[in-house]
Symmetry: C2
């Protein structure tokens, strides 16, 4: 029997969230909709220009772990914080959600990672991430029992930014595959794909990764094509299973010859897209590890993603299990 449904690995980041207008992004050279990596000097500069903010634990794969747990799944997380106030907050929040999180924190510097997230009136989020303690995640942080004991290991493409996290991923994938488990990743961001295209393709083609999550922009960036349909046909051949999200157009799931189209849920109001992809993956992987069919996996993803984008912050405040029961996707 497996000990966990999903093991997530990612940059452990506290989000600092404020609203701004599009001119602010342009004036400050922030690429809209992207994850912009920044150094401490730029972090200080941007923070000095940022409006009043709120803080919330975030990080792509951490959000996914929290989502799996909120749906009632057994989730674990590897990620590096420092022993500081933001690290305490991060650790508290993910454990309080029921996620097993035991990565040893750094004793001091660099500080826990933070991402300044600017949300424009259209609900789009533009992230500016100082990686801080995340740069120290390495293979020594791999807990072999969790890697072997999780039905699916899920990691973020963003982990190719810090220097040694990819070694942790490769080691985790070895443990997982040796135990007959599956490994999945998200392509994270179209610019991230651009930075690591060949490595990501190699992860898929070599079988290190079985399941891939991507959005429209990311999958098209991966194959350097403007055609969504072409990109989907290419990713179909490169991995066992891919789920590609398209915002309000829902998602397309491909597995071998199989193609499943899933709708997005209707929104009362789009508030903040932060966490959309992370929560789609959470819903999908919860369903997948529960043995549901692909349509139901996708519907769970749509539900979780649709809820998180109607609030400020990257993790839904609702109990996702209750919401999924209300939507008829889970049994009480």
């Amino acid at each position: 029997m497996s000990e966990y449904d999903v093991l997530c690995i990612g940059n452990a980041i506290v989000d600092i969230i404020a609203q701004c207008d599009d001119a602010f992004l342009a004036d400050n050279g922030i690429i809209k909709g992207a994850m912009n990596l920044i150094d401490p000097e730029r972090a200080n500069l941007l923070y000095s220009r940022m409006g009043p903010a709120i803080e919330a634990s975030g990080g792509s794969a951490g959000n996914t772990a929290a989502g799996v747990a909120s749906l009632g799944g057994r989730a674990a997380f590897f990620g590096k914080v420092s022993k500081d106030q933001l690290g305490d907050i991060y650790t508290h929040d993910i454990r309080a959600q029921g996620v097993a999180f035991d990565t040893v924190p750094l004793p001091g510097e660099p500080a826990t990672a933070r991402s300044m997230i600017f949300v424009t009136p259209d609900g789009e989020r533009s992230m500016n991430t100082y990686l801080g303690a995340c740069v120290e995640l390495g293979p020594e942080d791999v807990e072999a029992d969790k890697a072997a004991g999780a039905k699916v290991t899920y990691f973020e493409g963003y982990l190719w930014d810090p220097p040694r996290a990819k070694e942790a991923i490769r080691l985790t994938a070895e443990h997982a595959h040796a135990a007959g488990r599956e490994v999945s990743m998200t392509l994270s961001d179209s610019f991230c794909v651009d930075r690591y295209r060949e490595e990501f393709l190699d992860l898929m083609r070599s079988g290190t990764v079985d399941i891939v999550f991507a959005n429209d922009n990311e999958v098209r960036s991966l194959y350097q094509t403007d055609s969504f349909d072409e990109a989907v046909e290419l990713i179909r051949k490169d991995c066992k299973l891919a789920a590609v999200t398209r915002s309000e157009k829902g998602s397309v799931i491909v597995r071998g010859d199989e193609t499943v189209k899933v709708s997005a849920i209707p929104l009362a109001k789009l508030v903040d897209t932060t966490g959309a992809g992370d929560l789609y993956a959470a819903g999908f992987l919860y369903g997948y590890t529960a043995g549901f069919d692909l349509k139901r996996c996708g519907d769970l993803g749509s539900l979780a993603a649709g809820l998180v984008i109607q609030q400020v912050g990257p993790r839904p405040r609702q109990n996702l299990r209750d919401e999924a029961i209300r939507a008829g996707l889970l049994q009480p």
Copy 2:
């Protein structure tokens, strides 16, 4: 000419906000709706039992300062943080809102104050505050130019909890009155009133405080009566001006023989009452220092309070000036 419209003085606190049910409050001995003072040990215990949270700069008078600034008023703040990550967040947020904040931070321990705020499904908030660095606020933190240069100085009754803040208040009031300014306070919390009833009455009757903000419970606690009407008649005699809020019943403003009744604004959904009284005071004092009549001051208070309780967190995300213009309370 005055340099500031409102100088606010209060405990500088970062809020840590999570949802819980009523049973959680009972099980943990938290007085519902109150500000419960806690020590570091209890803070650790409660945090270990708290669900996933978000963080936001708070503190009663700090919220009021932010509200005044959001309305377009010139606001200043005195309050003590420490040089730590939460202190940096606090300092950033209040300055980013346009509030002049120059109190020298503590170099180290105790840490910046935090309040664990549990929000129950009825929207009521129950606060658990570790005062941390706030205990060091004292008369050496009084900036005489700001005290003399603000039309109204406003402080929270909560400042009677830390040991030396009351000395800062008395000194500030001296500067303010010497410059012909007015001094106001909020009674803060009915249990706080119970702790310092005689001192609060003395502040009013001695003329140290000219204007008093209170809610229904606080004013009844002050005069130890069950009758709201009786309490209002008593406070009418004890200060020059009092504004007493009654949640959805609006507020009553008394000044000498004058009595003004103000309605609350209609709510789409009550989410979190945190900041309601603080934002009422912000709206009122913005109007008061702009020279508006009492009804319009109260309406601005109702608007700001009504907006903050329809979101999670103690400071409205909206620009209050824009909202007041939309509501016809300010001119574009």
